[in-house]
Symmetry: C2
Subunit: 110 residues, 2 copies
Amino acid sequence: MPKHPHHPDVRDVRLVRIFSALGDPARLSIMKILADHGEHQRGDFEVDVTPSTLSHHMRTLREAGLTHHRMEGTRCFVSLREDTLQRFPAVLKSVLQAVTTEEREHGSVL
Amino acid sequence: MPKHPHHPDVRDVRLVRIFSALGDPARLSIMKILADHGEHQRGDFEVDVTPSTLSHHMRTLREAGLTHHRMEGTRCFVSLREDTLQRFPAVLKSVLQAVTTEEREHGSVL
């Protein structure tokens, strides 16, 4: 992870990229954890994938404009991007609510 | 295309599959056309892809539970699945509205 990971400008964030990023169970779980608990240390996500797969998911979410990654020494803290949430408020709010409903009905989004 | 294409039961429709299906510009365009114009003949979509790629996109949308495919002789008519829209009303309504906004801002979802 570089010292200052690249984040796309909010004006370049595109819906199709957002959906592509959300179209994976682990990434959807990560989004749900961030929505429920706020900023999270990168190593602390309880997602059942290998470290290299987790890195790939984290990069996909960041490059889609969904997450902000903040370095503190060697640690990386991840949060939802407020500017993206504000650009697509209805979409992202309804997505996160639907994930909660689906988790209740099926036990998980997996 | 078989005479009676398979449609998943609405209870088996999963969010992660929906987002994966929406995470492609051509498929997002197809969803927008269906939302704006209702049922559409399968060969009439103005999407700039080859026929075999269009077939793949159509199957992906159908298997995700987003579209209903009705055969009439050799012709196939495609529409949005009302039961899926009713199961995830906020998500799909907000998605389709956001696509409209993005088209206005950027000219297309591509």
